[in-house]
């Protein structure tokens, strides 16, 4: 799967594209772990994700734990409703920072 990466104000913004499921979770995980090895301030933009299963949630949770252990910051931004629904059902809206936009996320970095 494609995961776009850009740097804004010293934050690495990752934008996965398409489906995040059992088939693509490993590539998603590799991209996230590669990013955190160079920067512990990360935003994941979900605007181009059209489907997410628990395999994807698992990877985001692992990254969240890792970034917390590094005293970094992880913010999830720009989530379509159906993707947010999956995060909410898993209770992840209570343990991870979720913002509407990068502008809104800035204060957490």
């Amino acid at each position: 799967m494609e995961v776009k990466s850009t740097n804004i104000d010293n934050v690495t913004v990752l934008t996965p594209v398409g489906r995040v499921d059992t088939v693509t979770a490993k590539a998603f995980e590799d991209a996230l772990m590669a990013a955190v090895s160079t920067n512990k301030k990360i935003a994941i933009c979900f605007s181009e994700v059209n489907y997410m299963s628990s395999a994807g949630l698992r990877v985001v949770l692992m990254l969240g734990k890792k970034i917390t252990s590094l005293n970094g910051a992880l913010v999830l931004i720009d989530m379509p409703d159906k993707i947010f629904a999956v995060f909410k059902m898993s209770g992840f809206d209570k343990i991870l920072k979720i913002c509407q936009s990068f502008e809104e996320a800035k204060e957490f970095f």
Partner: protein, 133 residues
């Protein structure tokens, strides 16, 4: 609709396009389509990952039909006896540090379904799932 599925993750694309076709034919909304796809994905992933520890090639099946305002699905596999509903629900209130990685799939299935039932029938695992649409 009746689909035969090999225990190979390469089958997932085929399966998701069959689910899309079914939902389109039955005029099921995008939101409900996403929920149905997610339920099937989570349960089929479980079967592929755990039902056949011998690693050989096996085939299992999914039946899916619309009855009034419900979609009824039946997933049947001849793998080792396993009831995914016996798994404890993850504690959705625990903190980031305490939260175990994994076990979320079946929790999503429970939340998205009106009813999920497991039975062991003729040496097969059978999961029946009802979803309100």
């Amino acid at each position: 609709m009746f689909v035969e599925i090999k225990n190979d993750f390469g089958e997932m694309d085929m399966l998701s396009s069959k689910i899309s076709d079914f939902c389109r034919e039955q005029n099921i909304s995008d939101e409900k389509h996403n929920n149905i796809a997610l339920i099937v994905d989570e349960l089929v992933t479980n079967v592929m990952s755990y039902a056949y520890p011998d690693g050989g090639e096996h085939t299992f099946s999914l039946k899916i039909e619309k009855c009034d305002n419900r979609v009824c699905m039946c997933l049947t596999d001849g793998g080792i006896p396993f009831n995914p509903l016996s798994l404890p629900n993850p504690d959705l209130e625990s903190s980031l540090d305490e939260r175990p990685v994994g076990g979320l799939g079946i929790s999503l299935v429970r939340q998205l379904s009106e009813a999920v039932e497991y039975a062991r029938v003729d040496d097969k695992n059978q999961l029946s799932i009802k979803v309100l649409i």
